[in-house]
């Protein structure tokens, strides 16, 4: 089974966010760049399944040169190849179009993404890519294995409210992987250094015929959320705080 894993580099923390006059993104200083959490789980599951089924795993991302680190992490975890779409996109649909166009140029049976990125928090890209590729999809997947029938996979996904559902999907398919089941492994420094020497293929939006998209959302403003009008902050030393809190708790019990 040939598997493409879509990953995103996200900022560990953010300083001085602002909206440029073009209204097409949020600018900020990123404290550090890390792989998005659910994408890390997706990567782990994808590489494992590709190996188990005798196929290849390709790790894919969309972003500027600065985000290559996530691809190197993928190579360090033994992905067979890495691919970057060279574009800085904020709008989930635009990102999905770029990724779908890149995926269409590859041979694949399965695409795995994470459920949601920690920066834009849209939870939109994975399923959008599936629909653009015209393949069946499942969201919030926690387990994945080859199906009993040929050209299928068997997945377990969360339905919410403590329920899970087991489904069989025809291949090719796309699944959005949820955090949780198998903790992502750390890449040893030596392997990471070797991964940094491996080639990373780059595609531009022009090469993918995915450029020049009209903006469908405009970013107007970015701000810290309103101060809560409900929360009463209790100050003092821990003993004082505990005593006030206990009083508040006893009031309602």
């Amino acid at each position: 089974m040939n598997i493409i894993v879509c990953t995103k580099a996200v900022p560990g923390f953010v300083n001085n966010p602002s909206v440029p006059d073009t209204h097409d993104r949020v600018d900020y200083e990123a404290g550090s760049i890390v792989i998005n959490e659910s994408d890390d789980y997706a990567l782990e599951a994808g590489i494992k399944l590709a190996k188990k089924s005798g196929g290849k795993a390709v790790v894919l991302t969309c972003g500027s040169l600065a985000v290559q680190k996530v691809l190197q992490a993928g190579l360090g975890k033994d992905a067979d190849a890495a691919l970057r779409v060279d574009a800085n996109l904020f709008e989930p649909t635009a990102t999905a179009r770029a990724l779908a166009a890149a995926i269409q140029k590859q041979e694949y049976d399965l695409v795995i993404t994470g459920v949601e990125s920690s920066d834009v928090m849209a939870a939109q890209v994975g399923v959008s890519v599936a629909e653009m590729l015209g393949v069946p999809f499942a969201y919030a997947v926690t387990e994945i294995e080859p199906g009993e029938r040929e050209n299928t996979i068997r997945i377990t996904k969360e339905l919410g409210f403590g329920k899970k559902q087991v489904e069989e999907l025809d291949l090719p398919a796309l699944v959005c992987f949820q955090t949780g089941t198998e903790p992502p492994s750390f890449v040893p420094v030596r392997k990471m250094m070797m991964a940094q020497r491996k080639p990373i293929k780059t595609l531009t939006l022009n090469e993918l015929d995915a450029g020049g998209q009209r903006l469908s959302i405009e970013v107007v403003d970015i701000f810290s959320p309103k101060e809560a009008d409900t929360a009463e902050i209790i100050d003092g030393d821990p003993e004082t705080q505990a005593s006030v809190l206990m009083q508040k708790i006893r009031e309602v019990l």
Partner: protein, 324 residues
């Protein structure tokens, strides 16, 4: 951009989820502002009671998609049904929950219709010719105001509990059953089994007091401290998703839209930053107490009482107080 509005209803065990009422309330006020119609789409296999309920909910039109194939939730069929109803009814705006349903089928329907989807919204208003929404970014520490300027329909998924639950005056709603052709042979996904998460006899939804652990407590060795507090207060232990993911506590303790929704009298969030999926499942608790080092943590926006500080300093003091 003014036009008809379609709400996608959510239900389980023949009961409509609260998000449906929240969406209908907002949809009604927008439709009144625009002078347009508000419809609600409900998908399932046995819908008679739900349709009766929705008829008097303040909508103009109820669109039930009823079929034996829709007994269990199949994302492929739901997408087909929703997209086709949207094509027939042609709404300018589609409202759904930022729930597992909205996350799974929303983007697929939006791509199929060529519409403009914005997810995870907590506020929406019509400003001039465009909809403007506010949504959380960067883990909820910041919010972005966004204007929708793309092709219609505009499709928004809204965080559960973010909108007030208005109850619009009932009106005489029309019920229209659309004819939808589900070609079973062309289905590319099949439901094999539905599983309930193993709770091991733990039911946190019945507890009056929950002491809830988040990643911010620092490590699995700190769980015992929280357990001591829960015991001293006569409550139960709960946790956020990362804590269950890292196996610091079994999944039966997890609070969130994927796991349990809880409404105890007292919810003590310890080192929980407050992802929207967590907040949506505990915000209706009687008293919410948040203890967190980060004063900007989103949990403080739903808490009644907050302590900005170290869980490890406050909890021992609290245990002493509870015992005295």
């Amino acid at each position: 951009m003014k036009g008809d509005i379609l709400v996608i209803a959510e239900h389980r065990n023949a009961v409509l989820d609260n998000i449906t009422w929240e969406l209908i309330g907002k949809g009604r006020s927008l439709a009144d502002q625009w002078g347009t119609r508000l419809a609600v789409l409900v998908v399932g296999s046995e819908l008679d009671a739900l349709v009766d309920n929705l008829k008097s909910s303040g909508v103009d039109l109820v669109i039930p998609v009823q079929h034996s194939l829709l007994k269990d939730y199949n994302a492929e069929l739901y997408t087909t049904a929703t997209a086709q109803v949207c094509r027939d009814f042609n709404p300018a705006l589609v409202l759904m929950g930022y729930t597992y349903l909205g996350m799974e089928i929303g983007p697929a329907v939006a791509v199929r219709l060529g519409g403009t989807m914005v997810s995870n919204c907590c506020e929406l208003e019509a400003e001039g010719d465009h909809l403007v929404v506010i949504r959380s970014v960067f883990g909820g520490t910041l919010q972005v105001k966004t204007r929708l300027v793309g092709a219609q329909p505009d499709m928004l998924s809204i965080v559960k509990g973010a909108l007030p639950r208005d109850t619009p005056a009932a009106r005489d709603a029309v019920v229209e059953f659309p004819a939808i052709d589900f070609d079973e042979k062309r289905l590319r996904s099949r439901i094999l089994e539905i599983l309930a998460i193993d709770t091991g006899g733990i039911d946190i939804t019945k507890a009056k007091i929950l002491v809830s652990a988040g990643r911010g407590i620092g490590g699995p060795d700190k769980i015992q401290l929280l357990r001591d507090l829960a015991d001293a207060l006569g409550g139960e232990l709960a946790c956020s998703r990362p804590v269950a993911d890292m196996c610091w506590l079994p999944a039966a303790h997890q609070v969130g839209i994927s796991a349990s929704t809880v409404t105890p009298d007292v919810y003590i969030a310890c080192g929980i930053s407050g992802a929207s999926q967590h907040i949506a499942a505990m915000r209706d608790s009687g008293r919410i107490i948040a203890i967190n080092k980060d004063p900007n943590a989103p949990i403080f926006r739903v808490a009644h009482y907050g302590i900005v500080g170290d869980v490890l300093e406050v909890i021992p003091a609290l245990i002493e107080q509870a015992k005295s």
